[in-house]
């Protein structure tokens, strides 16, 4: 008898959305999603409505109005009659400058300290431990303010350089360390190629582009020489000496270009109230740069130390058994493997440094927070617009940094075949 039970037929019932385990999780997810979206919509609508009630609807038109204020550190042409958007762009470039300088210096110090902390020399290892523990356990804002205060109070004023028997003098007659910043010689070209206008937004020096192009070509040539040396080494077991060739292809063409362009240095000299000529590295930039670098370097040092310690001892013993010297063991065996562990947390340190650079206003460094979030916000009174725009820009910068380093990470990570 065919009494075997057929699966119950019948239409889909709404109660199944809750009582049927096949659908329940989906139901909960959809409900949560709708709830969250509704909450955000409610918040957004509320803000818009309240702003409209206040008579301040969201409007980005202020970005096109003249800014009216001056910015001391400008990487591109700017004066107080330019629009707010350009002032914000000047600030953005200042943010990128200090972030780039900071990440570079922090990496150098961090790797050095991380390796030295593992040193067998008791004193060196302890000193590095003290450095790491001091810097990473004090808020970075305090380091920034401290660096600024030290620069302002400890270094001489420009007017101390004046007179027959000045209280202060320039280093090698070329660089002046003052409490307004450091003045260093600037590169000048007597046969300059002029500037190249980037869509009329800003100018790029063609001299700089030419030098970079030649330098890039030189480095590529050096790489080719290195590869050829590899081939010879693989074939014969002997590595030819290449350092003079490498040095030659990198340095000689650059020197030639510099000579053709008529390179010479412009030295800073006292003019009126301040030094004129030369490059003025403002103390706000230096204080921010050094404080961010040393602070972040303490974290990077720990990441590097952790990365190195993650490599099993057998690796260095094997390298020693092959007869590699300790420095080569570190460079050829340990570090390439440690990088896989180091890079992911390193990216987040770079992101931290970039975001921490928004503390710049504490020392009056005109970064994006100082211009768009600071003066522009104050003069235009557009709080919400400025804050949203600034958040968006920082988000974009951070995503770019992490995107670029993720690509690098893909290249160095363990290839599993």
């Amino acid at each position: 008898m065919a009494t075997a039970s057929d699966p119950p037929q019948g239409g889909f019932q709404f109660s199944q959305l809750i009582y049927d385990t096949r659908y329940r999780s989906m139901t909960i997810q959809v409900a949560t999603l709708i709830g969250v979206l509704a909450l955000f919509f409610w918040l957004g609508a509320n803000v818009t409505q309240n702003l409209a009630d206040l008579g301040k609807p969201i409007d980005f038109g202020f970005l096109g109005e003249p800014a009216g204020y001056d910015i001391n550190q400008r990487l591109i042409e700017y004066d107080n009659q330019d629009i707010h958007a350009r002032a914000a762009f000047v600030g953005l470039l200042n943010t990128l400058l200090v972030a780039f300088l900071g990440c570079t210096l922090a990496t150098v110090i961090g790797v050095l300290v991380g390796v030295l902390r593992l040193s067998h020399n008791w004193l060196v290892a302890r000193v590095m431990t003290i450095y790491v523990e001091t810097f990473r356990n004090v808020p970075v804002l305090l380091w920034i303010v401290l660096a600024m205060a030290v620069m302002i109070e400890a270094l001489p004023q420009p007017r101390d350089f004046r007179g027959d028997d000045p209280a202060a003098s320039m280093v090698f007659d070329a660089a002046a360390f003052t409490n307004r910043g450091v003045y260093i010689p600037e590169p000048l070209f007597s046969r300059s190629l002029g500037d190249f206008s980037f869509f009329g937004i800003f100018d790029i020096s063609i001299d700089l582009l030419a030098i970079l192009a030649v330098l890039g070509a030189g480095i590529y040539a050096a790489k080719l020489i290195g590869r050829q040396a590899d081939r010879i080494q693989n074939r014969t077991g002997l590595r030819p000496t290449t350092w003079y060739k490498t040095l030659g292809v990198i340095v000689v063409p650059v020197l030639a270009v510099l000579a053709i362009l008529g390179f010479h240095l412009g030295y800073p000299e006292l003019k009126g109230f301040n030094f004129g000529g030369g490059i003025h590295l403002r103390n706000s930039l230096i204080a921010l740069w050094l404080a961010l670098s040393f602070y972040t370097a303490a974290f990077i040092a720990e990441i590097v130390r952790g990365g190195i310690m993650a490599i099993s001892k057998g690796q260095s013993e094997a390298a020693a058994a092959l007869g590699l010297r300790p420095s080569r063991t570190m460079r050829l065996v340990i570090l390439p493997q440690a990088l896989r562990v180091i890079i992911p947390p390193l990216i987040s340190q770079y992101l931290n440094l970039t975001k921490n650079s928004s503390l710049a206003i504490a020392v009056g460094y005109m970064d994006l927070t100082g211009t768009l979030m600071g003066i522009t916000l104050n003069q235009s009174g557009r709080e919400l617009e400025c804050v949203l725009l600034t958040m968006l820009v920082y988000l974009a910068i951070s995503l770019c940094i992490s995107g670029a380093f993720n690509i690098y990470n893909q290249r160095v990570k363990l290839k599993e075949r």
Binding site: G55, G68, I361, G364, G370, Q379, G381
Partner: protein, 338 residues
């Protein structure tokens, strides 16, 4: 059920948030104290004294306003605000009134949705330099490094002044007056620029005030005054007429010393209306009948407040100048109390 409660609570919170600032006087009375935004510390205008009690020219206005509302000049909480966050604090309702030497401009009045309730100090932007530089005019400042408080009208005036005179300068933006002072004294900038009253106040706190000069050029008009939010005219009226009461009291010779005596015995109808012994001006404002009397009792009339905190007898040492009564050749002029 719980969900309903949740959404109900949210809706109630939203509704409460949107009507919170509808009637400021009600809110202030319900709270039992006034919240007044002041500067983060400017000698003579608003700075804590040795006992931590806020004192100064701007602070005195807030105490007078608290006196007018509650009859108690101490029913006020002070919230120090920087130049950058003062307007958002006011518009967000964190403070009821902003008395923070703020310049009255069209943009701030109209576009930032504030209501300036009058001028309590007619000021102008000036420059201070160390005497040893030998500078006698602001036009000699070509190439100088100038310390400036960021987020102020002074920043724009400075740019305009140097552009109009076709000379260059290097701005050093600074957040607070204290930091500016530190940088200026260390010589990290040649010049400090802000309102002339602020310069005098800052100079008074130096160890050697005589070594610094304030240059003769006043490059802008800076009418400083208290302000409130747009949209509550009643509250603005109370704030405006409290300031007027202080100014009128000086004009009529009503001081904190003789006020009780005058209230009891005056024959002058204008004084009687001001002090509430005649007419019903207080009732019209929604305050008690002796509101103006309490306002003047708090710290004295306008002239007394001026002399006490920033006048020539104080370290700040400011002359009345434009801030004298109109009868004495100044600009202080209160509309009639009737």
């Amino acid at each position: 059920m719980t969900k309903k409660v949740f959404w109900g609570a949210l809706a109630a919170a939203g509704a409460a948030a949107s009507i919170a600032s509808a009637d400021t006087l009600e809110d202030v009375k319900a709270r039992g104290e006034l919240i007044c935004g002041t500067s983060t510390g400017l000698a003579g205008f608003s700075a804590p004294d040795a006992n931590g009690r806020y004192e100064g020219f701007d602070v005195a206005y807030c105490r007078a306003l608290a006196g007018a509302i509650f009859g108690d000049p101490d029913a006020v909480e002070f919230k120090p605000l920087t130049t950058t966050n003062r307007f958002s604090a006011l518009s967000a309702g964190e403070v009821d009134v902003l008395a923070r030497n703020t310049t009255w401009t069209l943009t701030r009045d109209v576009d930032l949705k504030n209501t300036f309730i009058g001028v309590n100090y007619y000021d102008g932007q000036g420059f201070m330099v160390p005497k040893e530089l030998g500078v006698t005019s602001a036009r000699e400042l070509d190439g100088a490094t100038v310390c400036i408080q960021t987020g102020t009208t002074t920043e724009l005036n400075l740019a305009d002044f140097f552009r109009a005179n076709n000379i260059s300068y290097e701005p050093v933006p600074i957040e607070t007056n204290a930091e500016a002072q530190q940088q200026y004294l260390a010589g990290a900038c040649d010049v400090y620029t802000t309102d002339a009253s602020g310069l005098a106040a800052t100079r008074a706190s130096f160890e050697a005030p005589g070594e610094h000069v304030i240059l003769p050029e006043i490059i802008s008009k800076e009418p400083l005054g208290p302000l409130v939010r747009h949209g509550d005219d009643h509250w603005a009226d109370i704030a405006r007429w409290t300031l007027n009461a202080l100014i009128a009291a000086e004009e009529l010779g009503v001081t904190s010393a003789n006020i009780d005596e005058l209230a009891a015995s005056t024959e002058n109808p204008e004084i009687a209306r001001l002090l509430g012994t005649e007419g019903n001006l207080g009732e019209m404002l929604g305050l008690s009948q002796d509101w103006a009397m309490n306002a003047v009792k708090a710290e004295g009339n306008y002239g007394e407040i001026f002399e006490k905190y920033i006048g020539e007898g104080t370290p700040i040492g400011l002359a009345r100048g434009l801030n004298a009564q109109w009868t004495e050749g100044g600009l202080m002029y209160a509309p009639p109390f009737r």
